[in-house]
Symmetry: C2
Subunit: 250 residues, 2 copies
């Protein structure tokens, strides 16, 4: 099946290159041919902005768009009837989000903009049409979702079998790696707009206890988290605590 590259489509407003994050994201681990990139670059992607605190995807909503996160932070979470919340994952620029809710119609995830967020909105039918005749493209999306799954698996290991202090160490190291991969932050510090309560809900702790663990890490001179900045002071110690290996993030 040939891909629709007709003038009509080509005329639709395409985003300028800096926001063509999707091609960069998917090109990471599958060896794309020039034609693959051409197909991706021809996808219509509309820029959208969500204000801080706004739900991008709301529980149970039927969806026909995926999003590529261009700027800002987001997170996916579930609300439980017992009044608690579990954060599934945080998303940083370059992440592809909303694929699961599209294919899994009964998915009760919420997706929330933590800061002001800029996304590229991708119509799902366009995306899947692009896959149809191109195995490498399909594989790249498969790869991307498997990587997301690997991250969730690590969170499960964190929450299930690591001491709180180790969890927190692991969490900050993971964020550091993910941000480095997209050129945000250095080896020793990065910006992090999350609240302690949000992180606690990701790590299966109470906000109070997370705060106490932070103090421990500060007193160990291992890491600090203050006013939206994370500083990794003693990375070696952190990695020992967390048993951290960034391989699963590539």
């Amino acid at each position: 099946m040939p891909h629709d590259l007709s003038p009509l489509r080509a005329k639709t407003r395409l985003l300028p290159l800096p926001t063509r994050t999707i091609t960069r994201k998917l090109d990471t681990h599958i060896a794309f041919l020039p034609e693959d990139k051409t197909i991706l670059d021809s996808l219509e992607i509309r820029k959208r902005v969500f204000p801080k605190g706004c739900d991008i995807i709301h529980e149970g909503q039927q969806l026909q768009n995926a999003y590529i996160l261009c700027a800002g932070w987001a997170c996916s979470y579930k609300l439980l009837r017992n009044g608690t919340r579990q954060v599934i994952n945080f998303y940083v620029p370059g992440d592809l989000i909303g694929v699961r809710p599209i294919l899994l119609s009964n998915c009760d995830d919420n997706l929330c903009a933590i800061t002001r967020v800029e996304v590229g909105e991708i119509n799902v039918e366009d995306l899947f049409e692009a896959f149809d005749g191109n195995g490498r493209l399909a594989m790249s999306i498969l790869w991307s979702t498997l990587r997301d799954e690997a991250i969730v698996v690590q969170h499960l290991v964190d929450v299930g079998r690591r001491r709180p202090i180790d969890r927190v160490a692991h969490f900050f190291l993971e964020l550091s790696s993910r941000l480095s991969l997209v050129g945000l932050g250095t080896k020793t510090a990065y910006q992090c707009p999350l609240t302690q309560s949000l992180i606690a809900d990701a790590l299966g702790l109470t906000a109070v206890h997370f705060n106490r663990v932070l103090r421990q890490l500060r007193e160990l001179k291992a890491t600090t988290f203050h006013e939206g900045w994370v500083e990794l002071i003693d990375s070696e110690r952190l990695e020992r605590l967390a048993d951290f290996d960034s391989a699963y993030l590539q």
Copy 2:
């Protein structure tokens, strides 16, 4: 790209229909055309048997095969340097396993046969070649991995934000649903060859405490787990405890 249906390939030993579980699995949620099924049915699948306790995939091993589980139970897990183990997921007949370790080369999952296990071994290049010109097939695998991810996400919610008794209730209900979907077990009882220690390692509990929770559930006349059988006595109570909705399993 035409699919290789040459006599040479057709002559290779194909499994008889009852073990052609792969077609049934992938046909579940994508509307397959007859030609899709033809392609799948023409895939060479070699039957393999693993004895109880045997590792199907070992940490860090480089893989070129995926497996469709035809009989028996398996589980994926991670070992931590602190000496603990986190079970990621259990697999029952009909489940497709090993896709993540194939694409994610640095995946340190282990996959273990809990009982004697019969699998169909699928060469990954054959599988991906089949995808290449057929979007529905590619999508079906994507769907399958997204469903797996949804299950892991539920486990994360379990471990992160549910009380132990609620976790256990949720766990038994999930297994019940998954087994029912493949015709194993009834609404009120099913066979379950897992040890208490294995389940505890999936739920982020100690074996001792899991055992105590089992007693609670027995005394509540909600469920029993004894000699390899799970009995759901008071499903309504269990569902209330667990806040269970089987939608994520389809």
